[in-house]
Amino acid sequence: MKLREWLTAIIVLAICLTWVAADYAAAMQGINSALRLMPPLLLACLAGLYSERAGVFDIGLEGKMLMSAFTAASVAFLTGNAWLGLIAGIGGAMVLSLVHGLASITFRGNQLISGVAINFLAAGLTVLIGQNAFALGGRTPPLVGEARFQAITLPFAGALRDVPVIGPLYSVLLSGHSALVYVALLAVPITWWVLFRTRFGLRLRAVGENPASVDTAGVSVTRLRYTAVAICGLLTGIAGAYLATGLSAGFVKDMTAGRGFIALAALIFARWQPWQALVATFLFALLEAVAILYPNLTVGAITIPSAFMNALPYILTVIILAGFVGRAIPPRAGGEPYVKER
């Protein structure tokens, strides 16, 4: 990590620590809910990372998450099993990934247009099918019991509870989340390892920078890009399933609420690096948590309206996308279909 990334991480950490010192109970609650709010952002961000590192820009993260949330909630309701819901969610996102792959890799279409189309498709299709199947105005019926992902208590969480520092950190903050939160956290080191320590990762990064170099080395550009797009579908699938069956209890119209786009902003902020993606998405999740925790924050004589607090993550997105964080260089071949020269 470069200096800038370290600074960001340290600032985020410092904010958390001051908060803990100022108001212990509220801070622990806030950080805890930030951890619960982070996985959809983090998984979508990593999904975008695989796709864009391979040279396929994907603004359809939002739509894929939404589709996954819907299929996951529906199947979880029908079977009463959250894991079957997860598989359905991944399936739903994968289908849209395949559409994006076909449009932008096989048919060399415009990746932005394909992404926009996927977002519209998902927004319309989920409500349409939902209304037809459940007649609840596009919602799925509320999920109860095994149809949702339940909180897991990590081993020794009870025993370590009273140890200073480690106790609150491990037993209160880290323990007690659903399985998919841990999946999201584990996805960060795994992504780093795959990207920088394996043959697949080397080729993936190369194909996003200069596909001709991969092609002349005798490796299929098409296959690599499809693999990346499929991984993107897998991760957005998990993200969407968590949203509907972990964070909430069922699907609601437009429940992703721009998380796919926030994930894209975080990806730029993270400069397409996995560990930085963790820091960036945690920052966004923290803002979201603060907005929930303090709907009417009073600073001196002024009361900040809740609408402003709720808008914080989006405001940060705009600031990041406007380029206030310095120049981020995207993968060089990003957004361009590969056509053999000569």
Partner: protein, 549 residues
């Protein structure tokens, strides 16, 4: 697959199978025959030059060897055994390595990462990287190929990047190395170092195929040379048995002289004066090295030369659109007034207003918008002319009437101005461009390759128009790689080589041989090497019949 009795130094063992042999390779793209019945034999342990102009089919041939294209017909033999090369992987397996003109490197990867890409030993990178580090050290010592393995590509000079490409091929155990225009981006010192590397590789028994259009390189480093022209292999000779002017003539081709009826020129006051024009492109390569020339009203100055020696850059600068990132210095005066060479006022629209017409070299890219209709193309550059306006709007009817009249006068067929430019034949497309430029009555007309890909009838017509414009007292700069075109049209001939004007001659007082030497960069005609004087019969030149355009 390594042959016994390794031959080196350009004296190959005749009995050993050739490193690579092509038999009757043909490849067509639509109606264009890019390669026609190509035969080539490259003995092991030699450096073999393939020379020819842009568009002669060299790159297509090499793409076939590297599995990018499937030939329509013919056979490829590597080390005496027939092989098929359906993709790059197969080419690599057959021991063929390719160094492309535009490097295929990942800019933000290290040298090591680039070298192992696609040739990794297993799923994890670490073992491959450490193995490559060892191999690299050995190769560096063996062939003077020193590169810092941990540097990223964007930190390296172009010359070093090229070394990485060579190392990539050697790491994949290539026995046959193909280099496509390798010196195009190099400084002379870098090019010399490259040649030493190539000689070292040859002495180790590697076979090298060098594709270039630079005669000097062929003479300096190759053992054998094959000449391509318009998709055909027109000659294969030993380099020691040939001369630059012979090769130049073979490349350009001797054609039936097209006679143009023209009266002697009556030149008047100078229209264009160019002093010490230099141009360095954004990669730091000097493309023009001090060009000075004059063109007077009522004369045609022909610029002869093998393509790629700076003619394109000269036309672009005079036309007002130098390459992006290029640094241009010098002085250009038009009718006595200086023309800006950079910044404001240096654009093609401004040049038009100054009275410069331009028939660009590549009509399909620069001259026309292929999907636009003929009448729109005829108006381009003049769409703001007062006669085409109706209040705030364009008067399309007026433009169409104007276009229809011009197409009539220039005999563009079919005479339908609603047809898209791409639906006309090459000759008629060119007539549309010529009509647009000549009918505006420019003081100076820049012409690049006026008859490239144009049928005989249209060539005659276009030539007549050019001469008529001259007789009307206009100055004309004619750039052509067709020596005959230059000889029959120009009133004075300047020869360009490597960004310089090698000399000026009058068409009546020169010969194709002399011009060929100048085109090859030989200035002092008294200083011809002995071999240049030998009769063509001894040079084992096989002249093939002229192909149709």
């Amino acid at each position: 697959m390594r042959a016994t009795g390794q031959a080196t130094g350009g004296r190959p063992d005749a009995a050993a199978p050739a490193a690579i042999e092509l038999r009757g390779i043909s490849k067509a793209f639509g109606a264009v025959q890019a390669n026609r019945n190509i035969d080539l034999r490259v003995p092991r342990g030699t450096i073999h030059g393939i020379i020819g102009e842009n568009g002669a089919g060299k790159s297509t041939l090499m793409s076939i060897l590297y599995g990018f294209y499937k030939p329509d017909a013919g056979e490829i033999l590597v080390g005496g055994k027939p092989v098929t090369i359906p993709d790059s992987q197969a080419a690599i397996r057959a021991g063929i390595g390719m160094v492309f003109q535009h490097f295929k490197l990942v800019q933000n990867f290290t040298v090591l990462e680039n070298i192992i890409l696609g040739a990794e030993d297993g799923g994890l990178l670490r073992p491959s990287l450490s193995k490559a580090r060892g191999v690299l050290k050995k190769l560096a010592a063996e062939y003077q190929l020193n590169v810092d393995p941990d540097a990223t590509i964007d930190e390296l000079s172009v010359g070093h990047q090229q070394r990485v490409e060579i190392l990539k091929a050697l790491y994949r155990q290539a026995d046959i190395l193909i280099l496509d225009e390798p010196t195009g981006v190099l400084t002379p010192a870098e090019a010399d170092h490259l040649f030493r590397i190539l000689e070292g590789l040859r002495d180790e028994g590697k076979t090298i195929i060098l594709i270039t259009h630079k005669l000097r390189e062929i003479m300096e480093i190759t053992d054998n040379v094959s000449v391509m022209r318009r998709g055909e292999m027109v000659a294969s000779v030993q380099t020691s048995q040939t001369s630059p002017e012979e090769l130049a003539e073979l490349m350009v081709g001797r054609k039936v002289l097209l006679n143009v009826e023209k009266a002697p020129a009556r030149p008047q006051a100078p229209v264009l004066e160019v002093r010490d024009l230099t141009m360095v492109d954004d990669e730091g390569v000097e493309r023009l090295r001090g060009i000075s020339l004059n063109i007077r009203a009522g004369e045609i100055l022909g610029i002869a030369g093998v393509s790629g020696n700076g003619q394109t850059q000269l036309l672009e600068i005079l036309g007002g659109y130098p390459e992006k990132g290029a640094r241009v210095t010098g002085e250009v005066r038009m009718n006595g007034r200086p023309l800006p060479l950079t910044g404001r006022g240096c654009d093609s629209g401004q040049r038009r207003r100054e009275g410069v017409g331009h028939i660009p070299e590549d009509r399909q890219v620069e001259g026309l918008i292929m999907d636009f209709k003929a009448w729109e193309n005829v108006a381009f550059g003049w769409q703001d002319a007062p006669e085409f306006q109706r209040g705030l709007l364009m008067d399309n009817d007026a433009i169409r009437r104007d276009a229809q009249a011009k197409m009539e006068r220039f005999d563009v067929r079919p005479r339908d101005c609603h047809l898209a430019a791409r639906n006309f034949s090459g000759g008629n497309q060119q007539k549309i461009v010529v009509a647009r430029e000549i009918e505006r009555n420019p003081d100076l007309l820049l012409i690049g390759q006026p008859t490239r890909g144009v049928d005989i009838g249209a060539i005659e017509f276009i030539h007549k128009q050019i001469v008529a414009l001259r007789d009307a007292g206009k100055a004309i700069l004619l750039v052509s790689v067709e020596l005959d075109e230059i000889l029959s049209l120009a009133d004075r001939i300047a020869v360009m080589f490597d960004g310089r004007i090698m000399g000026e001659r009058l068409p009546s007082e020169t010969t194709t041989g002399e011009l060929g030497l100048l085109m090859a960069g030989v200035t002092d005609t008294t200083n011809i090497p002995e071999s240049a004087g030998i009769p063509p019969g001894q040079a084992h030149v096989e002249e093939l019949p002229e192909g149709s355009a």
